[in-house]
């Protein structure tokens, strides 16, 4: 039984919890609230009540399950291997089925289901954002309450979405591989430079990049909030879209999007006779950009140009614990010549962003963010590198509010800088190197 279709599907996970409370040691929400309902153990016992049919579906119950970042620290730290974050999602799904989703969220997810409308809204937003937001040095703040905290600093929407700026097919000069690129909403509408960096770096490595025009939101906001019906519709749509392309890999630049394609789609469509196999085939091709460059292309980063920055790294929860990519981003960054890495105290502690969590629980979210800011402050760097657009928005808000000078960059933007700085070398050598590299990785492809 698919785990999110019926709370029964998660019974074995619930029963496995021995209530030891070890999750208290790592749950960022618990550290702030010190409340048993804030931590996985409490939530699992509430889920057990739902399972036994003893729970009343109240707004209070909804709020308990809403107060979770899905950072997966509990699951990673659980001595019994309980997938606590999945139990919480299954409970959210059950509550959504019982019509407990707040109106605003339901309405938002309905729009997600209609990609055309969502795209239209955000394009309109880009034109008219000046009406609702005032610009300040580091981004924009709301002019009046629109469901956002007034003090919050949010990035401006890009003038033009990435996918309307770049062509659908981006051929590399020495083409040897072909990938599809799932941009994700944040890269498409806000940080378009990240998408351009992906195309640039991949083209440099002889990889053609196809950006399917039909793609839309991966559906993570709906799925994480329990709107499984919307999630399934979006899963099927993307499985269809990406199955059409005969590519070596599907590239993502956000752990949440990547994890949704790689894990959630398979879970959501597990019982579907048509889509299960298709979803698995798509999932197998999913590569975060760092994973693709390090493990598949085996790029020699030490040979790139110098990037003389001193940076610290924030590991996005869904890149590290979600997709299991703890090694690749740093392996890539630290090999770049001239660069200095200064680890913060807990690079893999959640920044408190967690998508819509920071909208609905801003106070807790900000307290968690403040700890991250203190960790960043302690590193004596001026750049924070991360691998997720949603973390980046959160970090930028914190840096602006705490008046810290740091700049936030996506890992691929740093790599792009290394390529740009290498370009200054004589062109002939660079070309030779590239051909060599392509021959080499042609061999490794078979092995993988």
């Amino acid at each position: 039984m698919a785990v999110y279709d019926n709370i029964k599907g998660i019974e074995e996970e619930i029963i496995k919890c021995m209530k030891c409370g070890n999750c208290q040691a790592v749950c960022p929400v618990y550290k702030e609230t010190l409340s048993e309902s804030g931590v996985a153990r409490g939530k699992i016992q509430l889920a057990a009540k739902i399972l036994k049919g003893e729970a009343k579906y109240t707004p209070e119950l909804y709020k308990k399950f809403d107060l979770c970042l899905q950072c997966q620290a509990c699951s990673a730290n659980c001595p019994c291997g309980v997938k606590a974050h999945k139990i919480i999602m299954a409970a959210r799904a059950e509550l959504a089925r019982q019509n407990m989703l707040p109106f605003a969220k339901k309405a938002a997810f309905n729009i997600l289901k209609k990609p055309g409308l969502f795209d239209f809204g955000l394009r309109l937003g880009s034109t008219f954002q000046g009406l609702a937001f005032r610009k300040n040095a580091s981004g924009m703040s709301p002019r009046f309450p629109i469901g956002l905290e007034m003090r919050r600093v949010v990035p401006a929407l890009a003038d033009k979405p990435l996918r309307s700026e770049l062509p659908e097919v981006n051929k590399a000069p020495n083409s040897r591989k072909k990938v599809a690129f799932f941009t994700g909403c944040v890269t498409n509408y806000i940080y378009t430079s990240v998408g351009k960096a992906v195309v640039d770096v991949l083209n440099h490595n002889g990889v053609d990049v196809i950006i399917p025009k039909e793609q839309h939101c991966c559906g993570a906001p709906a799925i994480i909030n329990g709107d499984i019906e919307t999630g399934k519709a979006m899963a099927k749509s993307h499985v269809d879209i990406f199955s059409k392309y005969d590519v070596d890999a599907i590239i993502t630049v956000c752990g949440t999007c990547g994890g949704t394609f790689e894990q959630k789609y398979v879970e959501l469509l597990a019982d579907d006779p048509v889509y299960e196999a298709k979803a698995r085939a798509v999932a197998r091709k999913i590569r975060d950009i760092s994973e693709y460059l390090v493990d598949d292309l085996k790029v020699n980063f030490a040979k790139l140009g110098s990037v003389p920055i001193s940076f610290t790294y924030h590991e996005p929860c869904h890149i590290g614990r979600g997709m299991g990519l703890t090694r690749q981003p740093l392996e890539m960054l630290t090999k770049i010549p001239g660069i200095t890495y200064k680890p913060m105290k807990q690079p893999n502690r959640c920044c408190g962003g967690a998508g819509s969590f920071s909208l609905t629980n801003y106070d807790v979210s900000y307290q968690i963010l403040k700890k991250k800011m203190a960790d960043i402050q302690g590193t004596n760097t001026n750049v924070v590198v991360t691998g997720c657009g949603s973390c980046r928005m959160q970090l930028e808000d914190g840096l602006a509010q705490e008046k810290m000078p740091h700049k936030v960059m996506h890992v691929i933007e740093v790599v792009q800088m290394a390529y740009q700085n290498a370009k200054e070398k004589p062109a002939a050598t660079a070309n030779k190197e590239q051909t060599k590299a392509s021959q080499k990785s042609g061999k490794t492809k078979k092995a993988s």
Partner: protein
């Protein structure tokens, strides 16, 4: 006088924001970390911020005859924080200040809600440690750990919580505040009330401030893993190491069931045909550590063991990985994990381990045993499924027999988890009715109406 009035009075006394009555929240305080226990909703959960708040709460509780259950992080293993008879759960999590670190007198003064690890982090810059290290150091509170008198992996050399508690401030059931003990090493002034409240499981008073002893952190340590083909050899090794005047900080044992489960789960390189392994760590001054380690190697080899000494921190982590995986690995085998802490004199360790194997056979249960061999404190871990009522019956019979055996070998029913609800019925087995009655008299004298953690220990 209704419960609603009592809740009103609590709100008036300590503020609305510190009084929880929402059903969904109450559910989260209806259980603790103990397996196979009933759960019970409290009527209200209160969050005092100071000793004064606790005094006010006790006055209301006393006036309305509402039971009070002190609770830290709810990680105890004897059902001690389950609000069995309804009433007030008093959670100390937000009384979490470290009041003082006095390095000259080697003491720290803390509020009960401080997490053990946080105290250790705070004293580390002074080169000091607070040695008691139960498995829950990262989550358990000082108040809870003093109330349960928790032990840990270093009991043999460093003792347990009660050896470190020097002073306590306690709020009595009627709201009276009393302080006992203090910062001096020597203190024989009247009854040793500090020891009485330590390990009293919240049945005699509410601990609101704790003064603990700190010690200098050991300069060096050395870890070793010894593998034995015969259980007896492992048991003999444990006693012979101590006979050789070496007191290791840690001397942990794992039986064959545990070894196989750990190896299956974590692939740490344990030989699955071994009957027992010992993880031994000596610590202290570097020269002494070297000498003691050499003695340990000699004793292990003499007793037909195969020993590996960790050369650096990385190898040390490797050896410890096996021990750390013991409970998680066992817990993943079956949905329900019943973890006991029967304890015997060190010299009877082998007898106890053999008896546990026989009990597992007799009741057709899977029991993995690991634990603190150096202090005779074993953790027979019964792997079962609480939904299987027939098997649970056999589990209960096996538990009865485990305790009976421990007592027959001159041991005790609880080494470090406490009595609570889980083991209250076994007390007469250990003390006789007359012994239990003496304890009951103390309980009645201090809490005549049984408002403090009722249903636990003394009933």
């Amino acid at each position: 006088m209704s419960k609603a009035q009592a809740i009103e009075a609590l709100i008036k006394a300590i503020g609305k924001e510190n009084v929880i009555t929402e059903h969904e929240e109450l559910v989260c305080y209806s259980f603790d970390a103990t397996a196979d226990m009933p759960s019970q909703l409290p009527d209200v959960v209160v969050t005092p911020r100071s000793t004064d708040d606790v005094v006010e709460i006790m006055k209301v509780a006393n006036q309305y005859k509402m039971p009070v259950y002190p609770r830290g992080s709810g990680t105890n293993l004897c059902g001690d924080t389950i609000p069995l008879k309804g009433g007030i759960v008093l959670r100390t999590q937000k009384m979490n200040k470290i009041i003082e670190i006095d390095a000259d007198n080697l003491v720290a003064v803390v509020q009960p809600g401080v997490v053990i690890n946080d105290l250790n982090t705070a004293v580390a810059p002074f080169g000091l440690i607070y040695p008691p290290d139960p498995g829950t150091v990262a989550t358990a509170t000082m108040g809870g750990s003093v109330s349960e008198c928790s032990g840990g992996l270093r009991g043999l050399k460093y003792g347990v919580t009660k050896h470190y508690v020097m002073g306590l401030e306690v709020v009595m059931v009627d709201g009276t505040v009393a302080s006992f003990g203090g910062k001096t090493v020597k203190n024989v002034t009247a009854y040793d009330m500090v020891k009485l409240f330590t390990g009293a499981e919240g049945t005699l008073g509410i601990i609101t401030e704790i003064t603990v002893k700190l010690i200098p952190a050991p300069e060096a340590k050395k870890s070793m893993l010894a593998v034995f083909n015969k259980l007896e050899d492992a048991g003999n090794t444990v006693t012979e190491i101590v006979r050789s005047k070496v007191i290791p900080a840690t001397m942990e044992i794992m039986d064959q069931v545990t070894i196989r489960t750990v190896e299956n789960f974590a692939k740490v390189g344990l030989p699955t045909d071994a009957e027992a392994v010992l993880l031994i760590e000596v610590d202290g001054i570097p020269e002494v550590v070297e000498r003691e380690a050499a003695t340990v190697v000699k004793v292990v080899e003499k007793n037909n063991g195969n020993i590996k000494v960790a050369k650096d921190d990385k190898e040390r982590d490797g050896l410890w990985a096996a021990r750390r995986a013991a409970l998680p690995a066992l817990a993943q085998m079956k949905p329900t994990t019943v973890l006991e802490d029967a304890t015997v004199p060190r010299s009877r360790l082998t007898d106890m381990l053999v008896a546990l194997q026989n009990i597992a056979k007799k009741y057709d249960l899977m029991i993995g045993t690991f634990g603190h061999a150096g202090d005779g404190n074993l953790h027979p871990t019964i792997l079962t499924d609480e939904r299987n009522t027939e098997e649970m019956k056999r589990v209960h019979q096996a538990v009865d027999e485990i305790f009976k055996t421990a007592l027959e070998l001159g041991g005790t029913i609880s080494g470090e988890h406490g009595i609570g609800m889980a083991k209250a019925k076994y007390l007469p087995m250990e003390f006789g009715e007359q012994g239990v009655e003496i304890m009951r008299k103390i309980k009645r004298a201090l809490d005549p109406e049984n408002l403090l953690n009722p249903g636990k220990m003394m009933g």
